[in-house]
Symmetry: C2
Subunit: 335 residues, 2 copies
């Protein structure tokens, strides 16, 4: 969709004004019902002891395609402009697989622009869902250029990985489910912790929680080696440049425009964790809960372990975001 087409739909040219409302999260939940899993919440006495808090793990690594990204992609695909035959995106990670899956479910064609150095497992996942893969040089410019050419040639509709109101609303359904599941268990969590990369999940979480249960504190968790979101949040100015250095490969991107606007308004704070914190949390999750999550998924729990004073004795919902990784890397990630 061109910028002016988008303005026709939303009535707004400026992305900072093109923000989803909480109601769009609730609509997304209805759209997604039956298409995605209502993932379980796991608890572990060993984890509670290690954290000095009551931890509720929201298991999005058990989601379709093994990551919460299925939510945003499916929500976007459910509200495409009439006549759309093909969707496209650029991705080296879970969003590409999620869009490929969501498109296939609706009988649509899909192209994913991937950097040549994307892991073989990620390419295989995208291909397995039947999407076309176009390889490009591993730079943002090459990815965006290749995608633009492809749109010009095929008329594909682009579904961005995070800076998109449909995607943010879809990811917000994670928090809506957490709040509903906790209430079924008879309580409201004191905090929800979600990792932040481009900010789709964290913005959606803030949006949903502030509407449904404003007493819940929403915290973003970010690798210190890719801390643009914390710097943006604390300075009041969106940071768009960084040289990420982190094993949490899903969190190397910088915050989107829409994401930053929502996070500023609805999130309580963003905390950072070291690489060792991430490895400690990963090891704890693998050994104690037997859940195979990817490094990015351990960043929320790492935040609880690294900042115990903020969480002591609290009920903390922690989002495990995904479980897609090269299993041969486990040995070197253990602490």
């Amino acid at each position: 969709m061109s910028k002016s087409d988008q303005a026709l739909v939303t009535g707004r040219e400026n992305p900072e004004e093109d923000l989803p409302m909480a109601a769009e999260v609730f609509t997304a939940a209805q759209v997604l019902a039956g298409k995605i899993h209502r993932t379980p919440i796991l608890t572990s006495r060993a984890l509670n002891t290690a954290c000095g808090a009551e931890i509720f793990l929201k298991c999005e690594h058990l989601q379709k395609v093994g990551a919460f990204k299925a939510r945003g992609a499916a929500n976007a695909v459910a509200q495409l402009p009439a006549g759309t035959r093909r969707v496209a995106t650029h991705s080296s990670g879970n969003h590409g697989a999620a869009l490929a899956w969501a498109a296939a479910e609706q009988g649509l064609a899909c192209t994913v622009v991937m950097p040549e150095n994307a892991p073989a497992a990620k390419r295989a996942a995208v291909a397995a869902y039947g999407a076309d893969i176009v390889l490009c040089a591993p730079t943002l410019a090459a990815r965006e250029g290749t995608l633009a050419e492809l749109v010009a040639e095929t008329g594909a509709h682009v579904v961005p990985p995070f800076d998109d109101r449909r995607v943010i609303a879809g990811q917000g359904t994670v928090a809506q489910e957490i709040i509903g599941q906790c209430r079924e268990l008879g309580f409201t969590p004191d905090l929800i912790v979600a990792p932040v990369g481009g900010g789709g999940l964290l913005a959606g979480t803030g949006l949903a929680a502030s509407a449904l249960a404003p007493e819940i504190k929403v915290l973003g968790a970010e690798p210190a080696g890719a801390d643009d979101a914390q710097r943006s949040f604390r300075s009041g100015q969106r940071v768009t440049e960084q040289t990420p250095e982190t094993i949490a490969d899903g969190l190397r991107t910088t915050l989107g425009v829409r994401n930053y606007s929502i996070i500023r308004k609805t999130v309580n704070d963003i905390v950072t964790v070291s690489e060792d914190d991430i490895r400690e949390a990963l090891t704890l999750i693998w050994t104690r809960t037997k859940q195979l999550v990817e490094p990015s998924a351990a960043v929320s729990l790492a935040a609880v372990l690294a900042h115990p004073a903020r969480f002591k004795g609290k009920k903390v919902a922690v989002v495990l975001t995904g479980g897609n990784m090269d299993l041969t890397a486990i040995g070197e990630l253990l602490i």
Copy 2:
């Protein structure tokens, strides 16, 4: 307990007559309620496609201590002779940790005789539950001798890993739960597949299923490199010697006396799988369900993959027995 003490309790000197009845499984389920987890059953579309059957994974790797062994150990500890202050066993695996845990829950002392070459992770687990560890040479004779000395010195009550009616009855609660959970979902499984090493789980499974739903076929799954149970089952004579060669370290033991007697009467067949079958099943479980199970736990699913004609289109409950392993070994186990 000496042989004559045991005869006082059971009224029988001969272990082949000292067999649990199905009612003891049902009693065990009541004894264990609140002490152990009612573990979830997981399904996966990808797994169903790979198997050509409907697979229901009973997640005993999410059980207390990370293995179904918690059931038998807790059931035995709940019916110790009056005045017992200390329990003991020899184990290089999950039974030692399970007994250590069960004893600690009841405020009892526990000693576990472990071979010097037991993995550090297993020793750490036993120690973490507060049990005393006595190391010995890595032979069965040394293990039994050391345990006998220890019993003579301390008066500890021995809880054997599988050849024990309380342990068999406890492990049988896995199948009782499977049948109950499937009925809640509106069906009865066509088959239950459980791995067989010493035969505690498989005997308990046969016992429970034959009483609760005799129409269910119970199959044992065994590594071809440790196939004493299949040879025993098919020849009608219990095989007591083998030189096991398998990555499924929990299944290297030979069938117990009580276990063999029950299995002969209540189990439909025992099938074997190759080491590659086990690695294929492990890889499938890890990558598709994101569940970190140990090699022995994949043997049931390996049986479904290796013998498709037996399972085609059927509803198959598959027991994932445990999740305790050295995670650095994952790379070399992948296929």
